[in-house]
Amino acid sequence: MQNVAAIETIPTNVSADLGVRTTTEPVTATLHEWLITVDHKRLGVMYIATALMFFVVGGVLAAVMRAQLAFPNGTVVPPDVFNRLFTMHGTTMVFLVGMPFLAGLANYLVPLMIGARDMAFPRLNAFGYWIFLFGGVLLYFSYVGGEGLAGRGTAPDVGWFAYSPLTEHPFSRGTSTDYWILSITLTGLGSISSAINVIATTLTMRCKGMTLGRMPLFVWLLFVVSGMVLVALPPLTAAQVMLLLDRYLGAHFFDTQGGGSAILWQHFFWIFGHPEVYILILPGFACASEIIPVFSRKPMFGRAAMLGATVSIAFIGLGVWAHHMFTVGMSSQSNIFFVISTMLVGVPTGIKLFNWIATMYGGRIWFATPMLFCTGFLFQFLVAGLTGIMMAAAPFDWQLSDSYFVVAHFHYVLLGGLLFTLFAGIYYWFPKATGRMLDERLGRWHFWLLVIGFHLTFDTLHFAGILGMPRRIYTYAPGRGWEGVNLVSSIGVVFQGVATLCFIWNVVRSLRRGAIAGNDPWDAWTLEWATTSPPPEYNFATVPEVRSSRPLWDLKHPDDPDWKFE
């Protein structure tokens, strides 16, 4: 039986450095190593670093939009540029930030958390990353590839969900829509590859003693997410292929001028699109489910319920898609069905929220930066979920749909919810990946500036929606009552920008001068903390014994181990 002392004697001189260069290798050799790597840890870092770069780009696009909308009759950008901005912003954030981030987290952490040496298919892992990167570059190449109507490039301008028949040939001349189709098909292939890898790894490469029931919640959630990706991405790919056939071979899937159906596109898109948003948020839940217990010093309250709730969300979430279509003229029976399913999916989601709070309750909460971000997430996700319930009431949605209220809602989910947990995850696992701690003080600045900026920008937009402001408009007339909220919303962007700069500075600085982390800076309980920071290429010299879902807790508390109670 392992004891605590044995863990500490893992030799540190075999750790693989991740960018903290201590050798005198030429840069090209290091670059070459990264280019051909199939190591899940390096690929994980590459995914996340690339996602963060696209995040900054997507953020700049948003900042320009908010500059245009800060005042009525704005003249910062002309309409065609604005329409490309919101299309690229949405497409970037969902497909080039959210998806690769979750792939990065999964690929980095899953093998470590289950005591494996790498993913099941390391080369497939590399393929997934590079095809994602290619897709992302292809999307942005659209800005320079050819003449648009006003000579400003042909970036897509049909909105991130590309409704037909706006995307059909008569209304979408040139190649901009094709860039959207092709680049997203490619990134989708990357996502599916990652999903296959996570499922195979989770099912076949767990270390001895790690039954499915003892896997960390993080692994469980990413396993469920991967299953959803397998089932939810193909509808989008199928619809995109059909759209390509319409555009280039004259098919009539969605081409209303030739007998096609615009509504069919919406169904197919949202059959993908709604599970997609659960695919995006569940990894955030996964981070929260690891961080909140550790920083509250208690196990997850109701672990089994968390698992059950996750699976429920996955299944019910496949049956709610038409709540994005309450205004298209479906029958009242159809609408009622989707009201029921949508409200129902709120129940397991709420249960998870309660479980997190109950984990904190009675604990000894340490508000280090990861926990600050998780706490922000809890408050903000609560609001996000409730505005979702509001829109689930279809008649209410008949007013709110396609207005800034929806924009506020989904930014609350994805920025206030997901992004906060992703930052929490970065602050939590950065020490493991790099061997150095991120600075706490800068972390606090990052957090509070982001909170202020986020609320200034998005709390106000709820009211814009209530006051009748539709989304995707490049400007508005004065006198509608929208000026005040838009100005305040735009001011919030400045805070968010400064917060992001704080974060970037924190990362850059800490990579060189951060405090040395050691194996287990947070006194945590899952297997990734049982090896060095950063881990050696092979991850574990010896894998600790696993008899419960908190193997390191058991080792640190031999008198009060989990396996006596689980």
């Binding site: 672990r303 109950a358 604990g363 909460i365 508000f367 749909s401 006198g479």
Partner: protein, 319 residues
């Protein structure tokens, strides 16, 4: 070209028509329930955050490791389910109330057809065609006058949203939709197209003028008349290619690609709400519509200054 300031604030919580009122009533219920949930849960979270902070002097003792509690977990599963049941029942009732209201035989029916970036409006039973401004009679308790709109599109998807009158319904090509409004207060109501429809989606505003039964009848009667013939500028106008896209009833202008201009000057705005209907604005539009609403489907007709003035003068006679 700047749009005229509109003194109307379109708040969904200031409904002035039956469907909007039903929606608002349900919405208040839902908001109330959500607010209550928020106060309870956020309150609990706030309490937890304050009460269970790690003390300054950390005694390095782990707190009691609690794994769960069946009773609590069942409670917070059952209560949300009950809330969901209540909300879905209330919601289902309003859905059927609004969506499945039968259309009376004698109800006023208007066809609203979406174009990139203007609204074609037809009163089939009354033989009236106009654009961008919908006139309907007010509904009073003694004279209930719901108006039923049949929504369609010739190009891409649009959405009819006048918040104070009703929830929005989409205009989807190949998929006609029905909606109804029953306004209780006379006045001009503003709305926007609420489904992204391309370049000038932002400038596709709809105006709904709700007027008394008499005023409405007068308006209809006026709209049915043909403008007087032989007005100055008429010959020039009919000789230009304007007639390829526009209709002026009683003349050889029978184009249907652009808005009907027969009673252009009876409307409050030009360009579907982009600017108020004044002589100068009209001149600007005719001179170069692309400077007013860039990308709209009326090109710069390359008219000389004199031609612009004459066309403007002619159109000013179309009251």
């Amino acid at each position: 070209m700047t749009a005229p300031p509109i003194a109307v604030v379109t708040n969904i919580f200031r409904p002035l028509s039956t469907p909007a009122e039903s929606i608002a009533a349900l919405s208040w219920l839902v908001v109330g329930v959500c607010l209550a949930i928020f106060l309870v849960v956020a309150g609990l979270l706030a309490y937890t955050v304050v009460r269970f902070r790690r003390p300054a002097v950390d005694l390095d003792r782990e707190p009691a490791q609690v794994y769960g509690s069946s009773q609590i977990e069942i409670a917070w599963t059952v209560i949300p389910i009950l809330i969901v049941i209540v909300l879905t029942m209330a919601t289902a009732r309003v859905i059927t109330e609004v969506q499945d209201r039968p259309r009376p035989e004698d109800a006023l029916t208007v066809r609203v057809i979406g174009h990139q970036w203007w609204w074609e409006i037809r009163y089939p039973s009354l033989g009236v065609v106009t654009a961008n401004e919908l006139h309907i009679p007010v509904s009073t308790s003694s004279n209930q006058r719901p108006t039923f709109l049949q929504l369609d599109s010739v190009d891409v998807a649009h959405s009819f949203w006048v918040p104070q009158l009703a929830g929005k319904t989409d205009l989807i090509p190949n998929h006609p939709n029905w909606m109804w409004i029953e306004p209780k207060v006379e006045g001009t109501y503003i709305g926007n197209c609420a489904e992204f429809c391309g370049l000038q989606h932002a400038n596709m505003l709809i105006r709904v003028v709700v007027e008394s039964e008499d005023a409405f009848s007068q308006w209809i009667a006026h709209q049915k008349t043909n403008p007087p013939a032989g007005q100055p500028g008429e010959k020039l106008f009919l000789g230009l290619s304007c007639v390829n896209c526009h209709t002026v009833a009683g003349t050889s202008a029978k184009g249907t690609f652009g808005p009907d201009l027969t009673h252009l000057m009876s409307r409050q705005t030009l360009g579907s709400g982009v600017m108020s209907n004044t002589s100068d604005n009209l001149r600007h539009w005719i001179r170069d519509p692309q400077t007013v609403k860039p990308g709209n489907l009326m090109p710069n007709m390359q008219l000389s200054d004199r031609e612009v003035d004459q066309v403007r003068d002619y159109l000013m006679t179309l009251e």
